[in-house]
């Protein structure tokens, strides 16, 4: 589904990704790990097409199509979606306005989204400005709700657990599971995505197929999520850094 080849990116003149290679096949959800500032968010924002993340080398393709030159809208319309780590607030624009826009073309989904809003206890957000004055957990719920209503082919979630209390973690985990659950058309195939989180609580509830570790703008290790997580929980990223130096 997504193929990233020797991707190099700079932000404000500073190299943040130094040759990233990543392959995410359809029906798999991958986990991206790495210390703060290693470039995880940069990778995700670059895949979405945010122009501040300037691609200086390499390429991104989706289902065989090179999307390196496409703008954000084009990528979104191809089916890439993102729940941001720190989304901006959009004053004046109500969540309802954006949801209406998204659902305009998917009337069949409206009912389901309304149900979700009820389940996630989000009715009161609908008439508030997007992300404005929301708590950490509320922002995450809103971001994931938007992803759920769009049902992107490739969904990325950047630290959906950060700044969230324990009760919300449960809810957010189940929302993410709905996001990646098999669609009617392909009952045996999961959704495709890339998840950034270090929350063992969340990872106990969400199945991931493979984990990657990013250090200083490079993917230094890929493998079985449980094994890699255990290692990191034990000894932090130190071992990854040592491993990389070997």
């Amino acid at each position: 589904m997504i193929s990233i080849n020797d991707l190099q990116v700079e932000v404000e003149g500073k190299n943040v990704l130094n040759g990233v290679n990543l392959e995410i096949p359809e029906g798999e959800v991958h986990l991206l790990l790495g210390p703060n500032g290693s470039g995880k968010t940069s990778l995700i924002m670059t895949i979405m097409g945010y122009p501040q993340y300037r691609i200086t080398g390499g390429s991104i393709s989706m289902n065989g199509q090179d999307i390196t030159e496409l703008d954000i809208t084009e990528r979104a319309r191809l089916g890439i979606g993102l729940a941001e780590q720190r989304p901006p607030s959009v004053s004046g624009v109500k969540l309802r306005m954006l949801l209406d826009y998204i659902l305009k073309e998917h009337e069949d989904k409206q009912e389901r989204v309304l149900e979700l809003i009820k389940e996630a206890n989000m009715e009161s957000f609908l008439d508030r400005d997007i992300n404005e004055g929301l708590s950490g957990g509320e922002i995450k719920r809103s971001e994931i709700l938007l992803l759920l209503s769009r049902q992107p082919l490739f969904a990325m979630l950047d630290e959906p657990d950060s700044g969230v209390d324990l009760d919300s973690l449960e809810l957010l985990s189940s929302m993410i599971n709905i996001l990646f659950s098999p669609k009617k058309e392909y009952p045996a195939k999961r959704g495709t995505g890339l998840l950034i989180t270090h929350s063992t609580y969340m990872l106990d509830r969400i199945d991931v197929d493979k984990a990657h570790v990013m250090i200083a703008g490079e993917l230094v290790c890929s493998g079985h999520p449980q094994i890699i997580m255990n290692k990191i929980v034990d000894s932090g990223f130190e071992s990854c850094i040592e491993c990389r130096e070997k």
């Binding site: 901006p88 959009v90 004046g92 624009v93 769009r150």
Partner: protein, 378 residues
């Protein structure tokens, strides 16, 4: 055709189909079952003046002056002294004015809106009119005023004196939609008086900016508990010069006023003002907000919210902010599938709607149109 032989129709359905299409752009409906009264002035001819309700009287101003000799002085030139009028009103115009007289009788709660269309086609360089609106005690009305010039029209001038009287516990919502050709000069001169417990809401929406608009409506809240709300939405573009004011005198206790101006500048000059004058125990707030979208070299917005207090119990506040659209916000919406211009429209729409609710579908529609235009960078 000379003026004398034109009959004022009393049925809006007889309007030329072309005309009715144009008028619908500014909220004028030709289905008379949707309106309680209709007045249409085309250039210098009142082509329609009718009302479907006993309690609503709608007449060409000249006819009303003949019919009611109490009008002159008490109402006509009652709020705006004739001598002070800055407009070129010579005596002949003053005696046989264009414009309308609208009266809602005591206790009448009119469900359907009334409407007045002031329409310029270009066969006349100037449209000068004088309107009087009277809401008697305990009456209620929503009035839609649509002003429009034919798209082909170049130049021209629209000058209007309006005097509005809102009686005890009466309520008027006046929604004015303007859509003028590029070089038209527009100079409304409006004054409103509100008595005890009365309420006045004035919505002003400018769809296509004229060349020059200069408007400074004045409202006097003279009765205890009277209230006024001004809300304006304007889109300025290159070569337009818009000055939009609004003075409210809070002369009695428990009066309240709110002014909210919203301007989007894609060029040209916009000055938005508001002056609250507190002379009693009252509450009032004025907010002049603006948004710049590629205003070019010469485009600007100037916001001047003003407060003048004579009374220690007058609680008055103001705010003003002018900003541009943050690119992160546009990109965020694009990441949810919107095109850049759609995202800008949605943000403009949010800005225009902010803190203002219950405008009704008609106005929501107009605001959506403005937001749409702004998204195209017009």
């Amino acid at each position: 055709m000379s003026r004398e032989i034109i009959m004022v129709s009393n049925n809006i359905k007889e309007l030329d189909r072309n005309d009715s299409t144009i008028l619908s752009e500014v909220g004028i409906s030709t289905e008379d079952e949707k309106r309680s009264g209709t007045f249409v002035l085309k250039d210098s001819e009142p082509v329609c003046s009718c009302s479907s309700l006993e309690g609503v009287e709608l007449l060409p101003m000249a006819e009303a002056l003949e019919k009611y000799d109490w009008l002159w002085g008490q109402y006509y030139w009652g709020l705006i002294p004739e001598d002070d009028s800055p407009l070129p009103m010579d005596q002949t115009i003053s005696k046989k004015p264009l414009g309308y007289f609208l009266r809602v009788k005591k206790g009448e709660h009119v469900k359907l809106p009334s409407q007045a269309a002031l329409y310029m086609t270009g066969s006349l360089g100037k449209q000068i009119l004088h309107n009087v609106v009277i809401l008697e005690e305990d009456s209620e009305l929503e009035l839609i005023t649509g002003c429009i010039s034919n798209a082909f029209m170049r130049g021209g001038e629209h000058i209007a004196v309006s005097e509005t009287y809102i009686g005890k516990n009466a309520s008027l919502i006046n929604t004015m939609v303007h859509s003028w050709g590029r070089d038209v000069r527009v100079k409304p001169h409006s004054a409103t008086i509100v008595e005890e417990g009365g309420s006045y809401v004035s919505n002003y929406i400018s769809l296509r900016p004229a060349g020059i608009v200069d408007s400074n409506p004045v409202t006097y809240l003279n009765g205890t508990g009277a209230s006024a709300k001004y809300f304006s939405v304007i889109l300025g573009s290159e070569s337009s010069e818009i000055t939009l004011g609004g003075d409210v005198y809070l002369n009695a206790d428990e009066t309240s006023a709110e002014i909210a101006h919203r301007a989007v500048c894609t060029g040209g000059k916009i000055i938005q003002k508001g002056l609250l004058v507190g002379k009693a125990s009252c509450h009032a707030h004025v907010d002049c907000s603006g948004m710049l979208i590629s205003p070019g070299e010469d485009g600007y917005i100037e916001s001047i919210p003003g407060l003048r207090s004579h009374h220690e119990e007058a609680q008055m506040s103001h705010e003003a902010s002018i900003g541009k659209i943050a690119p992160q916000q546009v990109q965020y919406l694009m990441a949810h599938g919107m095109e850049e211009r759609e995202a800008i429209s949605m943000i403009v729409r949010g800005f225009l709607d902010a803190d203002i609710t219950g405008l009704g579908p008609e106005l929501d529609q107009r605001i959506a149109e403005i937001a749409e235009l702004a998204g195209h960078g017009e």
